[in-house]
Subunit: 256 residues, 2 copies
DNA sequence: ACAAAAGTGTTTATAATACACCCATGA
DNA sequence: TCATGGGTGTATTATAAACACTTTTGT
C-alpha cells in the first residue's frame, strides 16, 4: 500500500499536532470563463474532498494554512483568508473516512487520531490556475479543478464550505476589488469584466464597467496591445498593487 | 478561596471538554448613546478580559457559545455570530493568567489545562443592556459594561477581538440593518438614528435618514406617542421582525 | 472597405444630499 | 405665543444605466 510509509511517519509525528483541530481549504481559481475549485479524489476513486491538514503545536493557525496550501499548489503568495469554523459535533462521518482511507488495518494511534471529533477551520484561497500544477497527497490519488457549479457530493461538510466561500466572494465583490490573485499578470478589460460577470452571475454593461473600473484607478494601462482577432486591439492592464491593496483595506463599495 | 469548590468540580469535568479550544465572546450593547462591551474583571482586581469558556465534547460549537453567553446574560435569543478564530501560537501569556487566576496552588490537572495552547473562536453577540443584569463567574469578581472607546488593556488578544467586532459591525451596517438586538422594544426615530451615528461615527441628516429607513419598510409605526420635552411628540417604532429578518438575509446595501 | 470588437461620449433615469417649511407640544 | 424638536416636501447634485458613436484592426 502506497501510503503505509507515510502513515508510519505520521504516527511518529502525531504528538506534534494539536488534537481535534483541522484545516480545510477552498482553493478557487478562474479559467475557461468559470470559477473552479481544487478538489482531491481519494484512493477509493469514489470519494472527493477538499485539501486539508492539521495544525502543529508550534505554528500559528495561519502558518498551518499556508503550509497546507504549499503542499498542493507550490505557491508562495496568494489571497488567503479564514472563512469560518465548522464545529457541529457530528460533522464527520468517521466510519466512511476510515474505509476510504484504507487505514482500517493501520496502527491504533493513527486510527484513534482520525476517529477524533474535529473542529475544522475553513480557509479561502484565490489562485491563478495557470501558474502551477496541483499535487495530490498521501491519501488522494488525484487532484482536479472542478467548476464550482459541478462539484460532486464531497465528504463531511465540505460542500457547505464551498457554499460559504461562494457567498463570501459574492458579498465581497460588491465592495472590494478582486482579480489580483485570479488573473494572469496582464489581462484585457474584457477578461476582467468576464470574471466579474461569472462571479456576479449577470451581464454587465461594457462601457459602464470600463468607466467604473478605470475611475477607481488601481489598474495600470500598458501601451502594448494584443494581436488576435480581426478588430481593434485592446489595451492590456495590470494591477497597481499598492493602490489595489489600499482598496482591499478600505473596502469601499464600488459595484452596485 | 472562593473558587476552590468550582475548580474541584471543574477538575472532575475536564475530560468532558475538547482540549486546546476555547470560545471568547464580544458582547456589544448600546446605552447612553454609546456602544458598550461586556468585560470581566479578574479577582486580582487589575486584569480585564472577555467572557469565555470551553467546548464540550458532545455539543456543537455554536451550542457552546450560547451556553457560555447564557451563564452571563440570562438571555435566550440574541444576535450571535462567529467572528474569527484567533490562533497565534503565543497568543496567551500563560504565566500571567495563572497568577491572575490565583490557581498556582491548585491541582495539577487544572494547571495543565490552563497551560495548554488554546485556539480561540471569537463570537459576536448584540444585546440590549437594559434587558438583563450581567453575572460574573468563577474567575471574575465583577462584570461591567465599558464604552467601546474606553476599553482598558485586556488579557491576551482580547482587545484585538473587540477591534475585529467593531470592524465587522462597521461593514455590516452598510448593507444590513441593525438595531433589533440593540434597542428596546419601542423606540423613536431619533434613537435609531443616534445608534447609527454612534456606530458609523458621523452625523446623518435627520430628514433623509427617516425617509431611507421608512422606505425599507421594516419598521412598524405606533399611534401612541411619548411625552417629554416641550415639543411635538415623536412616533414610537418597533421592528417588523419578519421583514427585518428578510433584510438580514438579503443584506442589501441601504446606507451609503 | 467592411466586420468585429474596443474605446469614448451623451442622454436619461435614479438615488443621495442639503435644506426649507410647517406641525405639535409644554412651558 | 414662543422655543424646540418632529415630520414632510422640494431643489440640487451626484451616481448609475442605457445606448449611440467613433476608432482600430485583420481580412
Amino acid at each position: 500500500m502506497l501510503n503505509e510509509k507515510f502513515f508510519d511517519k505520521f504516527a511518529e509525528d502525531l504528538h506534534d499536532y494539536l488534537p481535534t483541530l483541522s484545516i480545510d481549504c477552498v482553493i478557487l481559481g478562474y479559467k475557461n470563463e468559470e470559477l473552479h475549485v481544487l478538489v482531491l479524489r481519494l484512493k477509493d476513486k469514489k470519494s472527493w474532498m477538499l485539501p486539508g491538514g492539521f495544525v502543529k503545536k508550534d505554528e500559528d493557525l495561519d502558518e498551518a494554512a499556508i503550509r497546507i496550501l504549499k503542499t498542493r499548489t507550490e505557491l508562495n503568495i496568494l489571497f488567503l483568508k479564514q472563512l469560518h469554523v465548522f464545529g457541529k459535533k457530528n460533522r464527520r462521518d468517521i466510519k466512511a473516512l476510515l474505509q476510504q482511507l484504507e487505514i482500517s488495518n493501520v496502527k491504533d494511534e493513527i486510527k484513534n487520531w482520525f476517529e477524533q471529533r474535529f473542529i475544522s477551520v475553513a480557509y479561502l484561497a484565490l489562485v491563478n490556475p495557470e501558474s502551477f500544477t496541483p499535487m495530490p497527497d498521501y491519501m488522494s490519488d488525484s487532484i482536479k479543478w472542478i467548476p464550482i457549479n459541478k462539484i460532486p457530493k464531497l465528504l463531511f461538510d465540505h460542500n457547505e464550505m464551498i457554499t460559504h466561500a461562494k457567498d463570501y466572494i459574492d458579498i465581497q465583490l460588491k465592495y472590494q476589488p478582486i482579480g489580483l490573485s485570479l488573473l494572469p499578470e496582464k489581462f484585457t478589460m474584457k477578461t476582467l469584466q468576464k470574471l466579474y460577470e461569472v462571479v456576479l452571475d449577470r451581464a454587465l454593461d461594457r462601457a459602464n464597467f470600463q468607466k467604473k473600473i478605470l475611475k477607481l484607478d488601481f489598474l495600470i494601462r500598458h501601451k502594448k496591445q494584443m494581436s488576435g482577432g480581426a478588430h481593434r486591439a485592446p489595451y492590456l492592464y495590470s494591477f497597481n498593487k499598492i493602490k489595489y491593496q489600499e482598496f482591499l483595506e478600505r473596502g469601499i463599495g464600488f459595484l452596485s
